[in-house]
Amino acid sequence: MITVHDYCLFLLVMAGVTYLLRAVPFVLLKGKIKSRFWRSFLAYVPYTVLAAMTVPAIFYSTDSKLSGVCALAAAVIASLLGRGLVGVAVIACITVLGIDGLTLLL
């Protein structure tokens, strides 16, 4: 558990940086970034960030590694089959609940 004091400072940093990232270019910039390299870099960032945040953290977020691995596999398959955000999320949850629930009962 962190202290309320530290929480406030973390929150200030997080919310402040996020707001400035949105507001400063929205207010100031009218033109397009010219460098193709940096445009490309920015286009890849969201996906590489999400990938690095998900793997391997998902394996350690549940009661067992087995359920974490299965949740990731189920989510990838559901997504490849064309399910949307909520559908994939629900399938991942059910997978974990099923495996960890069964393990608990057995």
Partner: protein
Amino acid sequence: MTFSDGVKGGLPIGLGYFAVSFSFGIAGSKLLSWPLVTFISMTNLTSAGQFAGLQIMADAAGTFIEMAIATFFINLRYSLMAISLSQKVAPNFGTFKRLLLATGITDEIYALAVSQTEPVTARYFAGLMVLPYIGWSSGTLCGAVCGEILPAVVTNALGVALYGMFVAIVVPQMKAHRPTLIAVLIAVVCSFAFKFVPALSGVTVGFAIIICALVASLIGAALFPVKDEEESA
């Protein structure tokens, strides 16, 4: 493009946000009390950024610098969207209104706003923000309260929803765009290295995510520069 047009447009986003932020609330309830978790969502309105922020808060070695750098890189895409949106807005969408409504620039709200054929007015954009903001905040509140009540086996299962959503964002793009597939695989290999290579295990979670994303995105940009029409995806 009235305020109520915007509110109607934002309904599906608001419902989706409720579901996703519910799992953020659950994740947050393991570290913070429910009012504190909810306040993060009310002041940030960003999924991946908040989630990484929570991981840094949970890490005893996490620092404010790390929080600033992680938030910066994870949310840098909002700057791109803000630039893009600034080309689309109506002439009377002035500086003060932009400062007030900039928080509404999220992946989904932005995508909906720029897909309109007419210029985006401040009223319409404000309307668009309403239900997603309420959905995101109230979903977090419900998740955080439930997280304190429900047994661990249920909250762990619900907590996976956020990862599921990340997968649902990344996988379709990997399928459609081969360079993204390669960049994502580089990020994943890099992320495993920070977890399992002893020499790298001292690096904190936030910096590990930043380094993985930077390395993978720089390699991606160097090897496979994207064409203009690919960026909107």
